[in-house]
């Protein structure tokens, strides 16, 4: 007899499938030094990120293509996420996996990034504020050898404030 495997896709979890965030405006415009820190940390030194002449095709220097995925930072008046670090089980990541989406409440403590599917249209530029709309496209459970695994599939759309599309993303997060 196999042991009973708990079903973590409870009515409360099922209720957030399909949840859509209101448009989330990035706290700050894209800043040149944020672009610099990003491309230096990736170790991608393409001149389009810092040399106006080399970036003529784009109308001036641009952020790396994936920059918008990280543009939604903590606002000045938001709670300090490090305030919860004294909880030994807190891993540092909010279970509302995107701003404006509800938490996915399952009692699984380990979070891993499962991967991305991107469609890319345009780089963000300094001075632009990025708008994010997110949706829990699906949440489902698979029972692996090591126990239950919950997959959270998130669709994200990134645009400029004037509605020019930057990129679309489908991200799978894994709780186990």
């Amino acid at each position: 007899m196999s042991e009973m495997v708990p079903d973590y896709i409870t009515p409360a979890v099922r209720a957030v499938i399909g949840a859509v965030s209101p448009p989330q405006l990035a706290t700050h415009p894209v800043e040149p030094s944020e672009i610099r820190r990003f491309h230096q940390a990736v170790m991608d030194h393409a001149p389009r990120y810092w040399d106006e002449a080399a970036a003529a095709r784009y109308g001036g220097v641009v952020a790396p293509m994936g920059f918008p995925v990280h543009a939604h930072r903590r606002a000045e008046d938001q709670e300090d996420p490090l305030a919860a670090m004294d909880r030994p089980d807190f891993d540092g990541v909010d279970r509302a996996l995107r701003p404006g989406l509800p938490e996915v409440v399952v009692p699984l403590k380990r979070l891993m990034n499962g991967g991305y599917e991107y469609e890319l249209f345009r780089h963000a530029r300094p001075g632009e504020r990025i708008v994010l709309r997110s949706r829990y496209a699906d949440i489902y459970q698979r029972n692996g050898r090591t126990g239950p695994i919950v997959f959270v599939v998130i669709e994200d759309s990134y645009e400029t404030e004037t509605g020019e599309r930057l990129l679309l993303s489908v991200n799978t997060m894994i709780l186990r």
Partner: protein, 161 residues
């Protein structure tokens, strides 16, 4: 010229390997630099005790959020400022830890003319120094044809017809 000239569709052959992109050896400092720049507070990237005892991982982890941009750079380096990396997808199946040297690679699996341009499909991946493939994926890029117009920017798939 302005920017970097990338691959030309006419020169691409199915089965061809595109230039690899090597990162590393990765260290805890590289992980910290990325995590701090992104304000990513996930403990598995900087808290060794938490990573190994709570999450039962072999070490602190190289960020998946960082690896995704390496995969995008692999393609943007190849298509330069004349083509466009249109679609990129991959799964994080393997873990990477400090000490790993990562090689991003791509191999052409298909090509077709679309409008005035060419579309090229690739398998892509990120391999560690032991040959482990941790990030399998696929990509689709748009390239100019020799003597043809550049790929329009911003990119709109509708131009391909």
């Amino acid at each position: 010229m302005d920017g970097t000239a990338g691959a030309i569709f006419d020169d691409v052959e199915i089965g061809q390997d595109i230039p690899t992109l090597v990162k590393g050896p990765m260290t805890t400092a590289h992980i910290m630099r990325w995590s701090a720049a992104m304000e990513n507070w996930h403990r598995i990237h900087y808290d060794w005790k938490y990573a190994t005892e709570h999450d039962k991982l072999p070490d602190v982890m190289v960020n998946g959020s960082w690896k995704q941009h390496v995969m995008i750079q692999l393609l943007s380096d190849w298509v330069g400022d004349t083509g466009w990396a249109w679609k990129v997808g991959f799964q994080f199946r393997g873990m990477n830890v400090p000490g790993d040297t990562l090689t991003a690679w791509g191999r052409v699996t298909g090509k077709q003319e679309r409008g005035a341009w060419g579309v090229v499909d690739l398998d892509i991946g990120l391999r560690d120094q032991k040959g482990n493939e941790g990030t399998p994926g696929t990509a689709r890029v748009v390239l100019p044809r020799r003597g043809g117009p550049p790929v329009p920017y911003p990119f709109d798939p509708a131009v391909l017809g």
